[in-house]
């Protein structure tokens, strides 16, 4: 076991906001709180890309309050010719770990070399980590294994796949890989080719938004609406969902339900021309065409685009239900957040969602995401049994048990177990 003290760095090599940033911050908090409980002196650095337009000091105040050092850095690509000289000479590098270039995270101080171990969030490593640095990677999902369309299926998009291969190579160089679902763990092993002894499933926490301080004030005057939490990428399965909704509205014209879509870049699905360069991309165009061809949906679907956390929570509290329709991913916090406020969910059925449901004792109405008629059928079940479904939601007391502060001990134990087991 780790004795005395340990220095860790949690590094976000890409510009992230939203869920990934919150998730990374939660991991940092869990490690810090967990180490305190375990009586280990942890010096934790949180590294993020230097970008004053995206990040502000206030974004990281909560980390600083816990004694975590926040270190902005500039990413640099370094030639292996420079760095390999040292470690070849000292005979400390194995051939298998070498590459032409490496990434260095220049914080202007120590480039995180003062830390014993790095944790990288997530696996989008365009260049490998220098071979003398031990590190772990947090992998969320390999959506492209199941939905290859997101990387493109034409010769033009082969570059995306090559890029993915670079990510996978970098991931394989890690001391160990951290996942939060069994499904992603299996994907790491069987898709990315990571040694199975080095892939660990860590506990899944829930505290993605500051919901505990949010009072539940419902507005009964608003019409019943489904809050469709999504984003603009293809694995979110918009076309099937729109077709399913159209089926439902046609079969049940008396239904008062409307649908509000929210999420990053979802404004690309509106018919209003947008200056964003993605507007002309094939997929948003197809979604817009599908909406245009579905008169009922056109009438009852409103697209809000990305909402601030505050407004999102207001919309969530008053929703009739949450609609989650992805084909595949690592699960979603939105159905758990809904449960916190007593809002039930209707969700597509795939392994990570089933795991999430088990973890958080949720019982959403599930549907086959590739079959629009099944969505329509399930939605009718959802509407007919709405009050029973609400009654089956877990209590807040039960959900609190899964928040980051409560999960910190377990998270730290998992980390130390993996760290010790994979030390060279």
């Amino acid at each position: 076991m780790v004795q005395g003290s340990i220095k860790l760095a949690l590094i976000l090599p890409e510009l992230y906001r939203g869920g990934t940033l919150r998730g990374a911050k939660n991991i940092a908090k869990m490690l810090m709180l967990g180490s305190i409980t375990a009586g280990v002196r942890l010096e934790l650095s949180f590294g993020h890309l230097y970008d004053t337009s995206l990040y502000h000091d206030s974004d990281f105040e909560d980390l600083k309050e816990l004694g975590i050092k926040v270190r902005p850095f500039k990413r640099e690509v370094i030639s292996s010719a420079h760095i390999d000289i040292v470690f070849d000479y000292l005979k400390k590098t194995s051939q298998g770990k070498k590459a032409d270039t490496y990434w260095s995270f220049n914080d202007g101080v120590a480039n995180f070399e003062d830390c014993d171990f790095w944790i990288i969030v997530s696996d989008r490593l365009q260049h490998p980590i220098p071979p003398h640095r031990p590190f772990a990677v947090i992998v969320y999902d390999y959506i492209q294994r199941y939905v290859p369309e997101i990387f493109g299926l034409t010769p033009k998009t082969d570059g995306n796949w090559m890029q993915y291969d670079a990510y996978a190579k970098a991931t394989r160089g890690a001391q160990f890989v951290i996942c939060t679902t069994n499904q992603t763990r299996l994907d790491c092993i069987n898709y990315a080719g990571v040694n199975h002894e080095r892939v660990y499933k860590f506990p899944m926490e829930f505290d993605s938004l500051n919901i505990q301080s949010k009072p539940i004030v419902k507005n009964s005057e608003v019409p019943p609406y489904l809050l469709w939490t999504t984003n603009s990428t293809q694995h979110k399965n918009h076309i099937n969902i729109i077709l399913g909704l159209e089926h439902y509205f046609k079969n049940y014209p008396e239904s008062e339900i409307v649908v509000y879509m929210t999420g990053i870049y979802t404004n690309l699905f509106t018919s209003k021309e947008d200056s964003d360069k993605h507007y002309f991309d094939e997929y948003p165009r197809k979604v817009r065409e599908t909406i245009a061809s579905c008169p009922q949906v056109k009438k009852r679907l409103k697209i809000w685009g990305n909402l601030s956390d505050e407004i999102y929570l207001d919309k969530l509290i008053n929703a009739y239900g949450i609609l989650h329709g992805a084909l595949y991913d690592n699960g979603t916090y939105s159905i758990v957040e809904g449960a916190w406020f007593g809002v039930p969910s209707i969700s597509s059925d795939y392994p990570a969602i089933r795991e999430s449901c088990e973890n958080f004792s949720l019982k959403p109405v599930l549907f086959n995401p590739r079959n629009p008629k099944d969505l329509a059928k399930s939605l009718q079940v959802f509407v007919s049994n709405h009050s029973q479904i609400i009654d089956s939601l877990p209590t807040q007391e039960r959900l609190i048990e899964r928040t980051y502060s409560k999960m910190a001990g377990k998270y730290w134990d998992s980390f130390i177990a993996a760290y010790e087991a994979t030390r060279d």
């Binding site: 270190r71 000289i85 040292v86 202007g108 101080v109 120590a110 070399e113 010769p155 033009k156």
Partner: protein
């Protein structure tokens, strides 16, 4: 060895403390820590009646005299043996490249800049003179000046036309290449399955070629330097009287391995191996081989601290050091001085006379170096030559907070000749060019004045080979000092009996800007207690002086 014994020996025959002073490039800055320490060692040895002789080459001698002289070494009392073995090629390469230790500090040669300046000075004077002369018409000269002026106008017109045409001719191929590349770029979308950007690839190739050229030059430099070292060792071997040599760095391993006598080698630190990602361009096999040979072939090795011995030497060169005699000899301390508030005010006035040391590293924002009056502001001082492990950026960040968020009337004075790239970018971004003052290569008198006048000396460096000079330099003049809480600093304090509680207020976490800021703020607002404690401790430290350190060197030197 006791002083009277040395004197006895020197009476019999001149026994020298033989120092080797080489290096890939001649030392540029007299304020390099190693040079300061070497100078103090030489002075202390001479005080004890020991004769010091420096062995070097023709390409190093000038800079050696300059940097030692700049550190108060009486050059007249030092013997020099200059061997004509220098590699002329290295002189040329150094002259052309003028490279620093790391890419971050790489500087271009000043030759082109000088030529450009001289040319523009000449033109600035000559052109107006010709112009006024030709316009100065009178009945006496009109008969020849008018045709001459017409001829000049015609000549200039023709010249401009020729230049215009020449530019067009030169630009044309570039234009064609650019259009061609653009066409290729367009075509590749249809022809190639992969959307690769050919111009970008071409740029990549060019960049690689440039890097390869740099590395090739570096490789050649070191290969030539190796040959120079071997020639140098052979020359020394020819003198049978020279049986021992002292090396103040570990880079001259080929001399150590080829010298037939006994070598005493100092290993300051292995910082480039501790932070390899901070010293990307500094790595090369020959430097490492030089260090390895030094450790392996020396009769004894000196480290300045247990930290370097245990955490660096044994870690990076375990085999070479296995049966080696390694001695830790800490650096000496400065004697405490009697000082007062009046003296500090006087120091400010004296510093105003030293303002010519201030340089302007930000020529895009400042026409001239900032104008300052040292009696009118407080300042933080970091005497160092900025290197990637010196952590200057965090100090500048903490200083910025002090200035901008808390509106202290304060500046930051750095004695580095140039900011590192990170620091430079930060200063430019934050427009701190008037408040971060650069005073490089100051003489010892000015450095003492800076220490005395400054409100606080801060040393945020992540690592040092030995004790931090800046601490005793500051504390001895009743200026508070804050140091990074790193192992070598803890060793310095704890060696002399302090506990963590005693020095906790004097150290800060070097990674954490907030910790540094808080400590600076706290010390600036309430300096009295720290000054009192540090001065008392400094008095205690000064019992072990540079003379004592030199005595230990000498004892070890005699024993090998």
């Amino acid at each position: 060895m006791r002083q009277h014994e040395i004197k006895t020996m020197t009476n019999k025959l001149p026994v020298f403390f033989e120092i080797v002073f080489l290096g890939l490039n001649p030392i540029e800055h007299k304020s390099e820590g190693l040079i300061v320490l070497l100078s103090d060692t030489i002075n202390a040895l001479q005080k004890q009646g020991v004769l010091v002789r420096i062995h070097t080459t023709g390409r190093h001698i000038k800079s050696i005299k300059r940097v030692l002289g700049g550190n108060n070494v009486d050059i007249q009392k030092v013997s020099f043996l200059v061997y004509k073995v220098e590699a002329i090629t290295l002189v040329l390469i150094h002259f052309l490249l003028h490279r620093g230790r790391s890419k971050v500090y790489e500087q271009k040669s000043g030759i082109l800049k000088n030529i450009k300046n001289k040319l523009s000075d000449t033109l600035r004077i000559v052109i107006p003179r010709i112009f006024t002369w030709s316009l100065d018409l009178s009945p006496l000269n009109i008969w020849f000046k008018v045709p001459l002026n017409l001829g000049l106008i015609l000549g200039l017109t023709i010249l401009i036309c020729i230049l215009f045409l020449a530019t067009l001719i030169l630009l044309f191929p570039i234009l064609i290449i650019k259009i061609g590349l653009r066409l290729i770029n367009k075509l590749q979308g249809f022809v190639f399955a992969k959307r690769k950007n050919i111009p970008r690839h071409l740029l990549g190739v060019l960049k690689k070629t440039y890097n390869a050229k740099n590395r090739l030059v570096q490789f050649l430099q070191w290969q030539i330097y190796t040959k120079e070292q071997i020639r140098f060792a052979k020359k020394i071997n020819a003198n049978k009287d020279i049986k021992k040599l002292f090396f103040f760095t570990a880079f001259d391993g080929f001399v150590v391995s080829h010298f037939k006598g006994s070598s005493l080698v100092t290993l300051p630190d292995f910082i480039t191996l501790v932070y390899p990602l901070r010293f990307i361009a500094a790595h090369n096999k020959d430097t490492l081989e030089g260090m390895r040979l030094s450790i392996k072939n020396a009769k004894a090795v000196i480290c300045y601290s247990e930290f370097v011995k245990m955490e660096q030497l044994y870690k990076f060169f375990p085999k070479e050091v296995e049966n080696q005699r390694v001695e830790v000899i800490p650096q000496g301390y400065f004697p405490t001085l009697e000082t007062s508030n009046h003296k500090k005010e006087e120091a400010g006035k004296k510093l105003n006379e030293k303002r010519s040391y201030i340089i302007n590293p930000f020529t895009s924002l400042l026409l001239n170096p900032p104008v300052v009056d040292f009696t009118q502001f407080n300042f933080l001082l970091y005497p160092t030559i900025d290197r990637p492990h010196k952590n200057t950026l965090n100090l500048v960040k903490a200083f910025t907070k002090l200035l901008r968020e808390y509106n202290f009337n304060i500046k930051l004075v750095l004695t580095t000749p140039h900011p590192s790239r990170d620091v430079e970018q930060f200063i430019l971004e934050q427009r701190l060019q008037y408040d971060v003052i650069f005073m490089p290569s100051v003489d010892l008198e000015t450095l003492d004045l800076l220490c005395e006048k400054s409100s606080l000396v801060v040393h945020p460096s992540l690592a040092e080979g030995g004790d931090v000079f800046n601490f005793s330099r500051a504390a001895s003049t009743k200026t508070p000092a804050l140091l990074a809480d790193v192992q070598v600093v803890r060793e310095m304090f704890e060696r002399e009996g302090l506990s963590k509680d005693d020095y906790d207020d004097w150290v800060f976490d070097p990674i954490d800007v907030d910790s540094l800021f808080e400590k600076i703020k706290k010390t600036l607002l309430n300096p009295e207690k720290i000054i009192e404690n540090q001065y008392a401790y400094s008095k205690k430290l000064s019992i072990y002086s540079f003379d004592d350190m030199a005595r230990r060197y000498l004892k070890l030197y005699e024993s090998i």
